[in-house]
Amino acid sequence: MALLSEKEIHFLGTEIERGGLTYTELQQELLDHLCCDVEAKMEEGLAFVKALEKVKGRMEPDCIRQIQEDTLLLINKKYRLMKKFMFILGMIAPSMLIIGTIFKIQHWPGAGVMIVLSLFLLGAIYLPVFVSVKIRDTRKQGKPVNKPMYIFGLIAGIVFIAGAMFKLQHWPGAGVMITLSGIVTVAIFIPILVIQAIREKENQVQNFTVLIFVLSFTAIAFMMVALRPSQYIMDSFISPAIENIKMERIIEENNDVFIDRFSPLYSESKVLAEKINNLSKRTDDLDDYISDIIRTIIVEANINNQEAIGEDGSIEIFDLVRLDNYSSVDYILFGDDENKGAGDELQKVIEDYRELAMAAVGPDFSHKIEKALETNSSFHGEMNRSWLESYFYHQPMIGAVIQLTDIQLKIRIVEGEVLSYLICKLP
């Protein structure tokens, strides 16, 4: 059998390349096939050029490119599906995120589910699929794959999205995740992006656009952290809270002393003794209830605030961190889609206590109590907001602590007033 010379093979090779073949897996194979065909014709006695002409005459125009297309289509079905899936997901997830955010702002139900689901789709599915498609595309074009760029980009992206999701759902660990993704982005991902953008000549416009967007978003994220109120301003809110707690203790002690001193006098009257004991117990219960809420709010603001709580439940205000966190107050008192906040219950127990105290004293005195513990009017006379909203909604954590300790102080004052009223009435 006649074997073609190296030169002739090379000629046929260029012929195939001219046919539009770029897929290397096919190149060698089609060349061999073409060589065999030409050799067979040469066996019949034709010269190389004539033989080639004859073979080419039987070939359909553009058939080489067609073979390549058919082959890629057949073997890359999965990849095509993946790409299609990616585009569809890329439309659905962000739309759902935007709708979820609008629901969240409007306090409509279902916001949490939509936000978590869309962030999950983006972080756990879209990003990895995008990276694998992108790597395959780059490989297919015969270009080197910048692995660190994809790996660190993927890590930063996934951790950031998970952090955002945790933050919105009040799950622990959100802060750590967001900080970590920020560090990976600034210290590793952005430098790699810059180098890639400088090195690669072909996609410079695309690379620089990505780079600029990553930089802008990082800058905005940092700015939002920087916009948090200054620590000094927050510190000035500490003293009212401390004063409230101090005053409450003094009055509580006073009331206890009062009860101790006068109990021999009123214990003869069973009705009065019961009244006083009941009042004292109810005051302690409400005090404890509010303390519980305060502790929940400060721990929600930052888990480290656990350490500011003493064994007896007392709070060391100076040791608190994240005084400016307002989402904790909203979450604990107003709740979200899944949890009902404690706010309504709080207002109800205050009102119950007020009724009890008012019933214990005469009408000439009860209006003072009503005024001290009122829960009807709103702050600054804002008509469309309830008492609870105007005092607590979107308040920083330390603001809520001040309000709540103020209520504790007031109920101790009311307790004392009622006690002295009752004891003055003694014969």
């Binding site: 074997l3 073609l4 010379s5 190296e6 093979i9 897996e25 096919l26 060698q28 194979e29 089609l30 060349l31 061999d32 096939h33 060589c35 065999c36 065909d37 359909e60 058939c63 067609q66 073979i67 058919d70 082959t71 289509l73 057949l74 073997i75």
Partner: protein, 114 residues
């Protein structure tokens, strides 16, 4: 000559059958073998053959082995174990298909005398 339209769906079966019979083959050899077996009535074009070969390879039914022939590379294909099973299934399926088509196309003379 058998039209390409008819051959389209059977190419996979033909390739698997050829490899089952002959063990190791390369593309050009397959086209020639089919020509020989059918006295030139069936001509497999490379446009149909190579995409099919690559698809079978991607599905792990056949494996390729590159051998240097003079100054060029030749790709030999052999069946894998699962390819062997698939070849048997496909061939049987096709034989059944031909038999059924036969029933449609040349109905036996009816015995019912009305």
């Amino acid at each position: 000559m058998i039209s390409n339209e008819l051959l389209k769906g059977t190419l996979k079966t033909i390739v698997l059958r050829l490899l089952e019979e002959n063990g190791r083959m390369y593309g050009y050899e397959m086209t020639k073998e089919v020509e020989k077996l059918t006295d030139g009535k069936v001509k497999i074009t490379w446009g149909g053959l190579y995409p099919t070969l690559h698809k079978l390879e991607a599905d792990h039914l056949i494996v390729a082995e590159e051998v240097n022939i003079g100054k060029r590379v030749r790709k030999y294909y052999t069946l894998t174990e699962s390819g062997n099973n698939t070849a048997k299934e496909k061939v049987q399926e096709f034989i059944d298909f031909v038999a059924i088509m036969g029933q449609i196309l040349n109905p036996k003379p009816s015995l019912n005398i009305g």
